[in-house]
Structure formats: C-alpha cells, structure tokens
C-alpha cells in the first residue's frame, strides 16, 4: 500500500521557536516530494519540492525540507516561526512524471504570540 503519513496532526509552538513537521512515505521507485500550506479558508499553496540532488531544499518564507531515502522521510522545518505561519501543512507525493499528487492528512500548526 502506498501511503503518505504525517504523524503530528496538531503542533503548537511559540513565535520565534523552531518547528519540524514530519512526513513519511511508502512508495517505490522515483518519486517527487512536496509540501503545501493551507491557511484557513483558502486553497493550498506550494511551499517546496524535491526530486533529486541536494536532499535539503529551500522554500518560501524560510521553510526548508530534508529528504532521507533511508528513513523514507521528507520533514519540513523552520528555524523561527511567525504567527502568520499558523496554517495546515500537507506533505505530498507524486509517483513519477505526470502522476497525480497524493497528500498526507495534514498537520495543523498553531503559532502562539
């Protein structure tokens, strides 16, 4: 069974804290990994993606993610969060060129002032 797993459904941190949102997948073969953000009442917005090369990829607004083949993971990190980072974050996997995106259940990040 091919799955995308986000283990933490809810994460609460204070402004200025660092945060890591976890994503694990079980797919074989070549895959594309990405993260999306959804602010309340809005559509999903692309954050970053990985296919090959440097396992650490940089995204918008200070986010980065690290791919690990051995752990089958693609965790999202930010060194210092802002209240505006409060949103739901989705990890996504696409299996090969031209395939659909399959999403994890999402992680709701709440940043307290």
């Amino acid at each position: 069974t091919q799955t995308v797993s986000q283990s933490d459904a809810h994460v609460t941190v204070f402004e200025g804290d660092s945060v890591e949102l976890r994503c694990n997948y079980s797919y074989g073969g070549s895959i594309y990994l990405s993260w999306y953000i959804q602010h309340h009442g809005r559509g999903l917005q692309f954050l970053l993606k990985y296919y090959s090369g440097n396992p650490v990829v940089q995204g918008v607004n200070g986010f980065e993610a690290e791919f690990s083949k051995s752990d089958s993971s693609f965790h999202l990190r930010k060194a210092s969060v802002h209240w505006s980072d409060s949103a739901v974050y989705f990890c996504a996997v696409s299996q090969g060129t031209g395939s659909k995106l399959s999403f994890g259940k999402g992680a709701k990040l709440t940043v307290s002032p």
Binding site: Q45, F46, F103
Partner: protein
C-alpha cells in the same frame, strides 16, 4: 494572473439534486486536477486531465460523479443525485509541465447537501 478560479464558492443543494462545479485553470497550464477535502478523509484525489484529455479518474465515485474539460479554459465536475456524504470542499488545481509537483489550487467550492 488571477490564479485558478472556482465557481461558485458555496453551493447548497437538496438531497437528490444535481450539482455542477466550475473551474477555470491558469492560462497555459496543461494539467487540471479535482480533489475533494473533508475533515475526516482529508484531501482525496478525484480526477485529472492533461491537455483536456482524461488521464486518471481513479478517485471518482463512478456512479454519480463525472468530470469534463471541453476546452482548455474550463473544467466541470458534475455530481448527480447528491447525497449528504458528498458535502465537502471541492478543489480544482492546475499545473504546467509534466512533473505535476508544483500545483496551483483554487479556493474551492464548498458543497453542502441538505
């Protein structure tokens, strides 16, 4: 660039009625996707077109759901004989290129079946 446009933003239908949802992808994007989002199920893939041709409809409930893309500027998702369990936010998205990794989503249509 107005992004992916979905209309209507909200739709209420009575049980058994038909609902048609509209999507205008970003101009020049060759792929169009439909997803359904609920709190319980999360983001569920429904169907996907590339260059107006249906590529993958593996997520579509076959009996009452249908999607079309008659031209490159719009796609429709039609739900016949709507049921309360069809209540969800329906998201349309588009992407350019082959990899489908950077996908642009619309704001969604919230369908409520009463």
């Amino acid at each position: 660039n107005a992004g992916v446009i979905q209309t209507p933003r909200h739709k209420v239908t009575g049980k058994g009625q038909e609902a048609t949802l509209w999507c205008e992808p970003i101009s020049g994007h060759s792929a169009v996707f439909w997803y359904r989002q609920t709190i319980v199920q999360g983001l569920e893939f429904l169907t996907y077109f590339r260059n107006q041709a249906p590529i993958d409809d593996s997520g579509m409930p076959k009996e009452r759901f249908s999607a079309q893309m008659p031209n490159q500027s719009h796609s429709t998702l039609k739900i016949q004989s709507t049921q309360p369990q069809d209540s969800a936010v329906y998201l349309c998205a588009s992407s350019i290129g082959q990899s489908n990794t950077e996908v642009f989503f619309g704001k969604g249509t919230r369908l409520t079946v009463v």
